[in-house]
């Protein structure tokens, strides 16, 4: 039995379905990652603001996101919005919104850390040349922060990919859920189904995340001079 267990992957549409599940995972993760990176850049710059109110609000946002589990945010938004307003929003939109909301905060903190680590003299020598605040950001500060944020940002991206495992709760059938469906149906004929299916999913996650983390390592060592 054990040795024929791998056949479960080739039964019916199983493999295709698992890959479709992976596609859901990747689609939502990638879109959220991209949005988080863009918004995180903006919010991160706000976090370095000298205005204490702005700083407090953004800090509060970060703490909230860190303490409220993603699962709760998904639930509250997907069911809560409909309950309170009667409006239905596609669950993938909700998923992307929640992931972006979370990712933006984390990303912003990464940006904040890297902006504050830019020596003060860089701001000053830009100013001394007559650059406006906007020019200072565009030509001097952001290009320098980008290098420093990429490694931790990629780390964040892999975390976001891995967190898509929560999505079945709002009805998104991602790769792990498909795997479970396949196991439930096939376990009678293939007692080792869970071994093969989870094994495959383990591998798939690794295949998706590993190149990202390799890339971050590479950039990290490259930019360390």
């Amino acid at each position: 039995m054990q040795d024929s267990g791998i056949n479960i992957l080739f039964e019916g549409q199983n493999l295709q379905r698992i890959l479709d599940g992976l596609e859901q995972t990747i689609f939502i993760a990638i879109l959220s990652v991209v949005l988080s990176f863009i918004l995180g850049l903006l919010v991160g710059m706000l976090m370095t603001s000298r205005n204490i109110v702005v700083r407090f609000v953004t800090r509060f946002y970060l703490e909230v996101v860190r303490i409220v589990p993603v699962l709760v945010m998904l639930y509250i938004l997907y069911f809560g919005i409909t309950r309170w307003t009667g409006i239905h929003i596609d669950n993938r939109v909700i998923a992307i919104f929640v992931f972006t909301f979370w990712g933006t905060a984390e990303m912003a903190d990464i940006v904040r850390a890297s902006v504050t680590s830019i020596p003060k003299i860089q701001w000053e020598s830009g100013q001394a040349l007559g650059l406006s605040a906007g020019q200072l950001y565009v030509y001097v500060i952001i290009p320098q922060t980008v290098r420093r944020i990429i490694p931790p940002a990629i780390n964040l991206a892999t975390r976001m990919v891995k967190t898509t495992a929560l999505l079945p709760l709002i009805g998104i059938i991602e790769v792990i859920k498909v795997g479970q469906q396949v196991i439930e149906v096939s376990v009678k004929d293939y007692p080792s189904a869970s071994f093969w299916i989870y094994g495959l999913i383990f591998l798939l996650y690794f295949i998706v995340c590993y190149p990202l983390s390799k890339l971050s390592k590479k950039l990290e060592s490259k930019w360390q001079e």
């Binding site: 000053e124 020598s125 100013q127 001394a128 040349l129 007559g130 020019q135 320098q144």
Partner: protein, 247 residues
């Protein structure tokens, strides 16, 4: 004497409780090289930073070409093109090549034509001996080379006055020499300069005027550097000069 390019009148500057500048009065005439010396923390950097608008002053006035620049509503973009400043270090933008560094202000602030500005940049880099480094990044240069680029970058906006804040403090002796030679050269060309340095021999050689500060005050101004370094008038300046002598 013709009217000064830069004038500080009764300038006072506080950081919280500490008074960093106390009733500072200073004139810098066109073509004049003025060097400020004094102990660490006496207010030298603060003086330069106030002139360049990096810090606000609490009272007094600062005139550039006879126009008040320490008041609200100053067009700093314009003023800063007339003032070039070079800092102690980490001054260049590490993500840009040397050429991009020196072209940033001419192209983005002054909106000059790229060809023409680049031509001038190359000429200036040549003058400081770095024409072959135009496409290098700052980290590929030695500290002394970086500071020479920083000087070129400041010169590119055609300032009327240059401010130097301990530009050699982080350098090794030969590099110090490379950089100071560039400044000596500018002095010969008649550039107006306000210099903060701890290199006494250099100060003696380059300056038209020495300003000795202590605790935010100007204690002594001398128009004769040679005489000053031999025997300053004030007791405090004398003590200070002595820390550079052995036995």
């Amino acid at each position: 004497m013709e009217s000064p390019i830069l004038t500080l009148k009764h300038v006072n500057k506080y950081y919280g409780e500490t008074q960093a500048l106390a009733d500072i009065q200073l004139d810098v005439a066109k073509g004049e090289v003025v060097t400020i010396i004094g102990q660490s923390g006496c207010g030298k950097s603060t003086a330069l930073r106030c002139i360049n608008g990096l810090e606000e002053i609490q009272s007094g006035s600062i005139l550039l070409d006879g126009k008040e620049i320490a008041a609200a509503g100053t067009n700093w973009k314009e003023v800063r093109q007339k003032i070039g400043m070079v800092f102690q270090k980490y001054d260049l933008f590490p993500h840009m090549t040397v050429l991009d560094n020196v072209l940033l202000a001419p192209l983005k602030v002054q909106k000059r034509k790229k060809d023409e500005a680049a031509e001038e940049a190359i000429a200036l880099l040549k003058r400081v001996g770095l024409e072959d480094k135009a496409h290098s990044f700052p980290r590929q240069l030695s500290g002394g080379q970086q500071q020479r680029v920083a000087i070129v970058r400041a010169l590119m906006t055609h300032p009327e006055i240059m401010l130097f804040d301990e530009v050699t403090a982080a350098l090794d002796p030969e590099m110090i020499r490379e950089v100071l030679n560039v400044i000596l050269d500018l002095a010969k060309d008649g550039m107006t300069m306000l210099i903060v340095t701890h290199e006494m021999a250099f100060a003696e050689a380059v300056s038209d005027k020495i300003v000795f500060m202590e605790k935010g005050n100007i204690v002594e101004i001398s128009d004769d550097p040679k005489a000053f370094f031999k025997q300053p008038q004030s007791q405090r300046a004398n003590e200070f000069i002595n820390t550079f002598r052995f036995q």
